[in-house]
């Protein structure tokens, strides 16, 4: 006869053993997700559980919003209507002017024999639902997902300029990484002289930083920055920001250039999701970029050689 303890004393493996097991499992997942992005299948499977909960959690806020809309007074609406009409007139005027300018630009380009860029950018409005619960990154969720045909990598803008980029798409929601996120980069061009650079997010400061610009680069305070479009993701000519501070130091090879984003990055509610303008040729991407989050190009293809373009003309 065996002398084993009664079953109510059996407690499975020792707690320390269990902790080691789960900690190693977590670390393995972290490495797989951060370095190689192999964990997306698991992420999508688990999203089936979390998404209904998230939808339920969003319902009260949405209902409150609807009730608030219902009680908006008529005078408020009339005021807003008048303001919007004035804005529309203004916008129509500049749109007409832009059309004329674009036609002229195309003519000139043809004259110069430059390759004409295809400009079939389509846009879909979306609303920001909530900020991601993650103090380490600047991300928001918008209310359009795969069901509405959103693709990862789409540029996101508001009425004033670029806000960020779709980094992950769920069925009903998409995750947008804001330009100010530390790991987000966008290729820009100085509108005045065409100088190319890459703007990186400045994190908590809410600013952008232009890196790898030579100390003698021709850039001054107040220069407007627009997207250069050479990455094939952001269409050319969207407003990105204004240079607010240039530090040139004889001891450094590079100038430190900071700029204020043009869009109301942490403020607005409604944004536009653009489709990426062209398909991007796959290019190898240096190792130091793949740490944590070259996620902006989500689907794994279409890495652009950012380091190269950073050097600029």
């Amino acid at each position: 006869m065996e002398h084993t303890p009664p079953p109510f004393f059996k407690r499975g493996p020792a707690p320390v053993l269990r902790l080691t097991f789960f900690a190693l499992l977590s670390l393995a997942l972290i490495v797989l997700d951060a370095r190689f992005r192999y964990a997306d299948g698991l992420r999508n499977a688990l999203a089936l559980v979390t998404q209904p909960l998230q939808m339920v959690a969003l319902a009260p806020a949405a209902a409150a919003g609807r009730i608030a809309t219902f009680f908006t007074s008529q005078s408020q609406l009339a005021d807003e209507n008048a303001a919007l009409r004035a804005k529309l007139l203004d916008a129509t005027l500049s749109a007409q002017r832009l059309e004329a300018d674009a036609a002229e630009g195309a003519r000139l380009k043809r004259l110069m024999g430059a390759a004409e860029r295809v400009k079939g950018v389509s846009a879909a409005p979306a609303e920001i639902v909530y900020n991601a619960r993650d103090p380490f990154a600047r991300r928001v969720f918008v209310d359009k997902g795969t069901r509405e045909g959103v693709v990862a990598g789409s540029p996101v803008m508001d009425e004033r300029g670029v806000v960020g980029q779709v980094t992950r798409v769920h069925t009903l929601l998409s995750e947008v990484t804001l330009l100010t996120d530390k790991n987000q980069a966008i290729p820009v061009q100085v509108a005045r002289n065409g100088l190319r650079a890459v703007a990186f997010g400045g994190g908590a400061s809410g600013q952008l930083e232009l890196r790898y610009l030579a100390a003698n680069a021709e850039i001054v305070n107040g220069d407007r920055l627009v997207t250069s479009g050479i990455d094939g993701i952001y269409p050319q000519g969207l407003a990105v920001g204004t240079v607010s501070r240039v530090e040139r130091d004889a001891t450094n090879t590079f100038a430190r250039v900071f700029c204020e984003p043009a869009a109301g990055i942490e403020r607005g509610r409604t944004v536009l999701l653009l489709t990426p303008s062209t398909s991007v040729a796959a290019a190898p991407i240096p190792d130091e970029w793949s740490a944590e989050k070259p996620r902006e190009k989500a689907s794994g293809k279409g890495k652009r050689p950012r380091a190269k373009e950073a050097r600029g003309p």
Binding site: R11, P15, V16, R18, L19, F22, A23, L25, S26, L27, A28, L29, I30, L32, D33, A34, A39, L42, R43, L46, A47, V49, T50, L53, Q54, V56, A57, L58, P60, A61, V129, Y130, N131, A132, R133, D134, P135, F136, A137, R139, F141, R168, E175, K182, N183, G203, A204, A291, E292, K293
Partner: protein, 172 residues
């Protein structure tokens, strides 16, 4: 008499109570809060509670699974919360006998240390993965969570309390 003084004997816990409490905690975590810095992590708090109260039912496995759900729901690095919650569950299970001997505010102090530890581990993981340090406001959430501990204890133990009309002919 229970370890914490004047506590009555409780009825055995039902698994459905635990499941529902975790569902509500997840829901609270997913609410679109305006300012995240002051919002405690309800799932971590609930996990700590059940690990302290029912260490044989809720432990590392449950913590790890919940951590994964939080990681997916918040769209953060997969495994970040899983690691933090397994560590939290381990400490809570190990300390469960000790913690219950303290009055509620003493328990809350223990829980504050555990929640801070979990938050710290999560922060270390993210910093190692290349994120920027968001400032010491990170510590506010866990402290707010610990401040909620007495409330959570009362609410989550309510289903186990015996009815008021006690049968005097029974010994307990």
């Amino acid at each position: 008499m229970g370890p914490d003084g004047r506590q009555a004997i409780l009825r055995p816990v039902r698994l459905s109570t635990i499941a529902v409490s975790f569902a509500i905690a997840l829901l609270l975590n997913f609410l679109p809060w305006a300012n995240l810095a002051f919002v405690p992590d309800f799932v971590a708090l609930t996990l700590a509670f059940w690990c302290v109260r029912q260490p044989r039912i809720v432990g590392l496995g449950a913590g790890w699974m919940l951590g994964l759900l939080i990681d997916v729901g918040n769209g953060v690095l997969l495994g970040q919360h899983a690691l933090a919650y397994s560590l939290l569950a381990f400490c809570a299970v190990t300390l469960s006998r000790r913690i219950l001997w303290f009055p509620l505010w003493g328990q809350a102090l223990h829980i504050a240390a555990l929640l801070l530890l979990a938050q710290g581990v999560g922060a270390l993981v993210r910093l190692a993965a290349g994120a920027e340090f968001p400032g010491w406001a990170l510590a506010i959430g866990p402290l707010a969570g610990a401040a909620l501990w007495p409330l959570v204890s009362v609410v989550l133990l309510a289903p186990q309390r015996r009815p008021n009309e006690v049968d005097d002919t029974r010994p307990i």
